[in-house]
């Protein structure tokens, strides 16, 4: 049995949680992540507003506030970090699944863990990466629950193991040991 608190799954991807803003940052990219019309947007906007209120004393232009779907957020933040100076922080709010995906891109663009703050509004949905066929599947299955792979249709265990590089959960075949087997070949 995996102890979740010492697993690779961030606590905020297990249950919603809002990180503490690092007031020392000088400039900020704040992104509310979500597709237009997503039912999680209002909660994410509320977190974003609380953050902007904390940063209200900053000079104009220090906080760039946007609302974007995950893919667009990745593109925009990658461009931000190309131009940014040390002292910049990234503030992300949205579902755990979106935050994991966008955080992965931000880390790949050179950010360190202490430059990214995450505010999660919902942690029921995850992206599972099939270790056998490399397809990804979006699911609401619980950790250690099962889902069906969108690529190879295998039943996958949602392993409580998360990659910071991709933001995916590892999925592996649930019933490999119940499959038909063949007798070993006789010795040559």
């Amino acid at each position: 049995m995996i102890r979740l608190e010492s697993s690779s799954v961030p606590t905020w991807a297990i249950a919603p949680e809002v990180g503490t803003l690092d007031q020392r940052g000088r400039t900020f990219s704040l992104v509310v992540i979500g597709d237009p019309g997503s039912r999680h947007l209002p909660a994410a906007r509320a977190i974003a507003e609380a953050w902007t209120a904390q940063l209200a004393a900053r000079p104009a232009g220090a906080v760039v506030h946007r609302e974007l779907p995950a893919e667009a957020a990745v593109a925009v933040l990658t461009a931000d970090l190309h131009r940014a100076l040390v002292g910049h922080r990234i503030l992300l709010t949205g579902t755990a699944r979106d935050c994991l995906a966008v955080r992965a891109a931000v880390l790949a663009a050179g950010a360190e863990d202490d430059e990214v703050v995450i505010g999660v509004v919902d942690a029921t949905e995850r992206t599972v990466w099939c270790v056998h066929c490399a397809a990804t599947t979006v699911t609401t299955a619980a950790l250690e629950g099962e889902t069906s792979c969108s690529g190879c249709s295998r039943r996958l265990v949602v392993h409580p193991h998360v990659s910071r590089r991709t933001g995916h959960h590892l999925g592996y075949m649930a019933d490999a040991e119940e499959q038909p087997w063949s007798w070993p070949e006789p010795r040559a």
């Binding site: 049995m1 270790v131 409580p160 070993p184």
Partner: protein, 354 residues
């Protein structure tokens, strides 16, 4: 799905050099690191004199690695900032090969500028002159090229902000984990799935230890499990291929069981690379069928005791819960015709091992 074939008899050097992992009749996880490069005597031989080990499986295992990499390129991965560490790792691996087997491998500095080296690998017929840092002087990327010449799997850990990240490697013989998925994770994240070790402090202590490892120091540890068949590739990626064998092995007769079930031992080395400051983690996998374990009475008894006593959560994690009792019983009862006569060192004719 490819069916396993029953292995033929084990080459003598694989038995003589087998790193039998158990020092007690029970096994628990611990931060079992010790200084490397000191030989460990066993009832039939020894292991551990060198950091890399070349044995009679050299050609076969390297050919298998090439096939696996061809089929699944994600077994090799290098994050962009690991370039220097890869050069570092390559040089250390070549140097260790040359020191382990001076008859077969030669590394010479031909020009201190660069510096420029000449490398000769007589086992594979390789001769190469290269300049450190100059990719065009090698036929492949440095880590990939080195791993075409060592039987070890390699993970390189970057150290930054007091944390270790598994940011590069070549791992073709993983024991039920996915290198491609774990690439980029911290040391603690990598070990997330292992039971007990966090609460018992084994992994946090290991982390502290590795963070402080200095260039020039080399440590080693062993880890073990059971594998059905002489199968090096039991990565999670190929679980659908090898998973069913765990059920199959319950149905074969005793003779086949003893030849199919292998004690799988990983000798793992840890060392700090001097130029990049990265940590190199080497995993060398040894497989010995129970039939051969049984040829050494001390090994037979101890393995049976460990398998019997192993707590359920550890057996579950290792994926051996279904057949460890049969393995223990097989070892205890195998005094009949199924077992070759107990071996003495002189009885083991040195085949073309070294």
């Amino acid at each position: 799905m490819t069916a396993l074939s029953l292995p033929t008899s084990t080459a003598a050097d694989l038995l003589e050099g087998f790193p039998f992992p158990f020092s007690h009749d029970s096994y628990r996880y611990s931060t079992n690191v010790e200084p490397a490069r000191s030989p460990v005597a066993t009832p039939v031989g020894q292991w551990g004199a060198s950091v890399v080990t070349v044995d009679s499986e050299y050609h076969r295992e390297l050919a298998e690695r090439a096939v696996l990499l061809e089929r699944d390129p994600s077994r090799y991965g290098v994050l962009p900032h690991m370039e220097v560490a890869c050069w570092d790792a390559m040089l250390v691996l070549l140097r260790e090969l040359a020191s382990a087997r001076p008859d077969a491998f030669h590394l010479d500095v031909v020009d201190a500028e660069g510096p420029t080296y000449r490398w000769r690998n007589d086992l594979l017929g390789i001769e190469q002159t290269f300049v450190v840092g100059r990719r065009e002087t090698l036929p492949a990327e440095p880590l990939a090229w080195a791993c075409q010449q060592v039987q070890e799997d390699v993970v390189l850990l970057d150290q930054r902000s007091g944390e270790l990240y598994g940011d590069a490697g070549v791992v073709t013989f993983a024991a039920d984990w996915s290198f491609g998925f774990d690439l980029g994770m911290t040391f603690l994240e990598i070990h997330g799935p292992v039971p007990r070790v966090h609460a018992e402090g084994v992994i946090p202590r290991a982390r502290e230890f590795i963070l402080r490892l200095q260039p020039g120091q080399v440590y080693r540890r062993t880890n073990w499990t059971l594998t059905v068949g002489r199968r090096l590739d039991v990565a999670t990626e190929t679980y659908p291929e090898w998973g069913p064998d765990r059920a199959m092995v319950l149905h074969v007769d005793d003779d086949a069981f003893g030849h199919l079930v292998h004690l799988r031992v990983e000798v793992q080395h840890l060392l700090r690379l001097p130029e990049s400051g990265a940590v190199m983690f080497l995993i060398r996998t040894h497989l010995l069928p129970l039939a051969d374990i049984a040829r050494v009475p001390a090994w037979r008894e101890r393995t049976a005791a460990v398998l019997t006593e192993l707590p359920q959560d550890m057996a579950d994690y290792k994926g051996i819960a279904a057949y460890r009792s049969r393995a223990a019983a097989w070892l205890r009862d195998c005094t009949s015709t199924t077992t070759p006569a107990p071996a003495s060192p002189s009885a083991l004719a040195p085949e073309e091992s070294r």
